[in-house]
């Protein structure tokens, strides 16, 4: 009897929830998983965008930090959750484009196994070096690295991180995949050793290193994007500096489990776009050195295309990288 009562109650709750959902998604708070520790670049973008999305959706967008395994733990949890539109995730270049080639046992398929919502923003990648490293520009640097492949030290923030992913791509393109790589727990400690001259170079998001470059404690060779960054207008692009094939951006975007109701997808895309069009939110993102996504990239199809494009670009270098 008791079991029956519970069953009935459950069925009624489901029916009610279903009915309410049909009326207006969302009827309860939405969880947005950030697969990294609080305070990191992805977390900050998620909190800025999520804050405004909550206003549009009329329900709180709760940020839940589920860190681990280069962000794949959190994304696995999000894309294998019930596809009801109440669990989504903010992932980045590493978790969506690089992960399949980095982690052989990955439990999700970013290309075919999830519902993309849209891109929230991108951050250009900068090639930086200790201030007294000999080469004066990118061309000299490329020649120097090739000639001294047994001497140069590169720093990165651990397997699967943005710095590891983007630097592995660079090393693959330069033909020095086995260059000495020193792993750190996060870019903070890596930056410390770069400033003190213990290591020679690294690739990192412009926001993390721009102030050091401006102060002259480290030097920048090039920014790996089509346009110069307003944060460092004096630093040439890789195209200008003679390495046009090295183009990569550390972007962050939202996705959820495959099979989400169309209404939920539409509402989330709309909320994301309203957030990105809001002057206050826009200013916060631009202050971070973020490149705002194009109208195309803000759509599910456009974001999916970006994930595929970067996955194709990265996978040869990542699969060949020593692990």
């Amino acid at each position: 009897m008791k079991k029956l009562a519970i069953g009935l109650a459950a069925a009624m709750t489901l029916a009610l929830a279903g009915g309410a959902q049909a009326q207006a998604y969302p009827t309860r708070p939405i969880t947005m998983i950030v697969p990294f520790a609080a305070g990191g670049p992805t977390d900050i973008i998620a909190r800025i965008v999520g804050d405004h999305m909550s206003k549009t959706l009329g329900q709180q967008l709760v940020i839940e930090n589920v860190a681990g395994a280069g962000g794949t733990t959190g994304i696995t949890r999000a894309v294998t959750a019930a596809p009801d539109g109440y669990t989504i995730a903010m992932g980045h270049l590493g978790t969506f484009s690089a992960a399949p080639a980095t982690y052989p046992g990955l439990k999700y398929d970013p290309i075919n196994g999830m519902q993309t919502i849209g891109l929230a923003g991108g951050t250009p990648i900068l090639i930086v070096a200790r201030k007294n490293l000999e080469p004066k520009d990118l061309k000299e640097f490329v020649a120097y690295v090739k000639a001294n492949a047994d001497k140069v030290n590169e720093a990165h923030a651990g397997l699967g991180s943005v710095s590891w992913t983007t630097c592995t791509l660079l090393k693959g393109q330069l033909g020095v995949p086995k260059l000495n790589a020193v792993a750190y727990r996060g870019t903070g400690p890596a930056l410390n050793d770069l400033v003190s001259g213990q290591i020679d170079f690294m690739c990192d998001q412009i926001v993390s290193v721009a102030e050091q470059v401006k102060a002259g404690t480290i030097k920048a060779y090039a920014v790996a994007s089509a346009q110069r960054s307003p944060a460092l207008p004096d630093v040439p692009t890789t195209t200008e500096a003679g390495l046009p094939e090295y183009q990569i951006e550390a972007w962050n975007g939202i996705a959820g489990p495959k099979g989400m109701p169309k209404e939920a997808v539409d509402r989330l895309v709309d909320a994301l776009n309203k957030a990105l069009n809001d002057e206050g939110t826009k200013k916060r993102l631009l202050d971070l050195g973020t490149v705002l996504p194009t109208a195309e990239e803000r759509t599910p199809a456009g974001f999916a295309a970006l994930i595929k494009r970067d996955a194709d670009k990265l996978s040869p270098a990542l699969s060949a990288a020593p692990k």
Partner: protein, 497 residues
């Protein structure tokens, strides 16, 4: 310096900033008292709330949460033997013993006064020497850091109350536990037995709350009488003149040690309390009092802990490089407010730099005002019957652990470590050396490999670099000093038998 400080106080003493500083300190104290709920989670949750504030006010509040949590953390360590963070592990050793002897109020009061003194000195320290001290952080590369960790591990041997052999085993176990998880360089999973929740290793909070908190509850349940004794005698609430006289020197030494170690990159602040405890035990006329409620064992480490928490701001404010996870979060907070930390914060945003420093001093004063009256309340809490108290301790622990990674399996792990910790107590093994080994293990392995990769595999790098070599010499000296008496003692034991 004085014109700068007056600029700072001008900023920090505005009504709004005072209120924010107070709010931060209060929230910090509360989350510090709640086991497991750490400053990282709290600052992250409160970050969006600060969007509407001006950057200086927002950062003053967030900083208040951080050092407020250091104050609050010692409360739980003393009252219920649960170290909320790595820095309060040492406080459990003598602080909880004092509580058991009915001197909880004295322990709490000493911790608060010592922390206040350390906080004031550290504030002046940052103001006067912040810029030149930055160079110290840059002198420490992977090789130096590894040697520092070796020195830290030698402290652990001295920490032990009983058998050195047992302490050594526990350190090794701690090191072993720290290697569980994904290899940083290769991405290989180590000792995870294919179990995904172990892929990122064991969380400090999970281990510490298990072997200390849960195990302590189990032990107390087994033996209800001792609890009643604690309840019966409460004793005086604040430290008396004798207590203060006994604490002055440990507080001074702890402040200096903690302050210097706090500047080092890679969470050097963790070592501060351990180093201070070791020093006090070595300097004491009667070292056998330690571990049985020696007030120096609370005064020194608590001062070191708080001094380190504050000097940890130096690398962030002068170099723009965060030395630990909480500071990394502060970088995030600053960037959100449009101030990207770098070497130029001091010249480009003087009102932020000096305002924060001034607010730290004000914050320390507020913490004293918040904490001293609370001592009475906390001590009264000990009078709550244990049958009501232990379920609440367990519930708060579970909430805290869950909040770290939002993983239910972490709570199960803590329960497992609780049983393990109970076993350790029964067999006479100390959990504190294990925790130190665990905390240092991860950093040690990382720095060892970084140093060896940079030196192309040459171990000589640790001896060729002068700072690194110096630290190793100190480590050997500590070991010799620690081991000699015990070897002698063993000889005596042999003779008496």
């Amino acid at each position: 310096m004085f014109s700068n400080l007056s600029l700072g106080f001008g900023v920090a003493l505005s009504l709004q900033n005072l209120a924010l500083c107070f709010a931060g300190c209060l929230v910090g104290t509360l989350i510090g008292v709640l086991p497991g709920v750490g400053p990282i989670a709290t600052i992250a949750i409160l970050l969006p709330i600060t969007f509407g504030l001006d950057p200086v006010g927002a950062l003053i509040m967030l900083a208040g949460i951080y050092y407020g949590a250091q104050y609050g953390g010692s409360t739980t360590a003393i009252l219920v033997n649960i170290p909320g963070e790595a820095t309060s592990v040492v406080t459990t050793l003598d602080g909880h013993q004092m509580a058991k002897q009915g001197r909880a109020g004295v322990a709490l009061g000493t911790a608060a006064l010592g922390s206040f003194f350390a906080g004031c000195v550290a504030t002046l320290f940052i103001a006067a020497l912040g810029a030149p001290l930055t160079k110290l952080a840059l002198l420490f590369g992977p090789a130096e850091y590894f040697s520092l960790m070796v020195m830290g591990l030698c402290f652990a041997v001295v920490l032990a109350r009983g058998s050195i052999l047992k302490a050594f085993c526990m350190i090794m176990l701690g090191l072993l536990l720290s290697t569980v998880g994904t290899d940083l360089e290769t991405g290989q999973e180590r000792m995870t037995m294919g179990f995904p929740p172990l892929a990122d290793g064991i969380d400090f909070a999970v281990l510490a709350m298990g072997v200390f908190g849960f195990a302590e509850v189990l032990r107390n349940l087994e033996n209800t009488e001792t609890r009643d004794v604690v309840r019966a005698k409460i004793g005086r609430l604040l430290p008396g003149w004798d207590d203060i006289k006994q604490s002055i020197k440990p507080v001074l030494r702890g402040t200096l040690l903690g302050g210097i170690l706090g500047i080092l990159p890679g969470n050097g602040a963790v070592l501060g309390p351990f180093a201070s405890y070791t020093l006090e035990k070595k300097l004491a006329k009667d070292p056998s009092r330690f571990g049985k409620g020696a007030i120096e064992g609370v005064a020194g480490p608590e001062s070191a802990n708080n001094a380190g928490a504050q000097t940890a701001f130096i690398p962030l404010l002068t170099l723009g490089i965060p030395p630990n996870a909480v500071m990394a979060l502060m970088v995030g907070a600053m960037t959100i407010h449009g101030i990207i930390p770098g070497p130029q914060v001091m010249t480009k945003n003087p009102e932020l730099f000096w305002g924060m420093i001034a607010s730290m001093w004000i914050g320390n004063l507020m913490l004293l005002v918040i904490n001293l009256p609370l001592v009475g309340v906390w001590v009264k809490l000990l009078q709550v019957p244990y049958r009501l108290m232990f379920p609440s301790i367990l519930i708060f622990c579970c909430i805290g652990i869950y909040s770290v990674n939002n993983q239910p399996v972490d709570v199960a792990f803590t329960a497992m470590f609780g049983l393990f910790g109970y076993l350790l107590i029964k067999l006479g093994f100390e959990p504190a050396p294990m925790l130190l080994g665990f905390v240092l293990g991860k950093l040690m392995e990382e720095k060892l490999r970084q140093a060896l990769i940079i030196s192309r595999g040459s171990f000589m790098t640790f001896l060729e670099r002068p700072i690194s070599a110096g630290l190793l010499v100190v480590a050997v000296a500590i070991l010799v000093i620690a081991l000699l008496p015990s070897i002698n003692k063993k000889r005596d034991e042999v003779f008496t038998e």
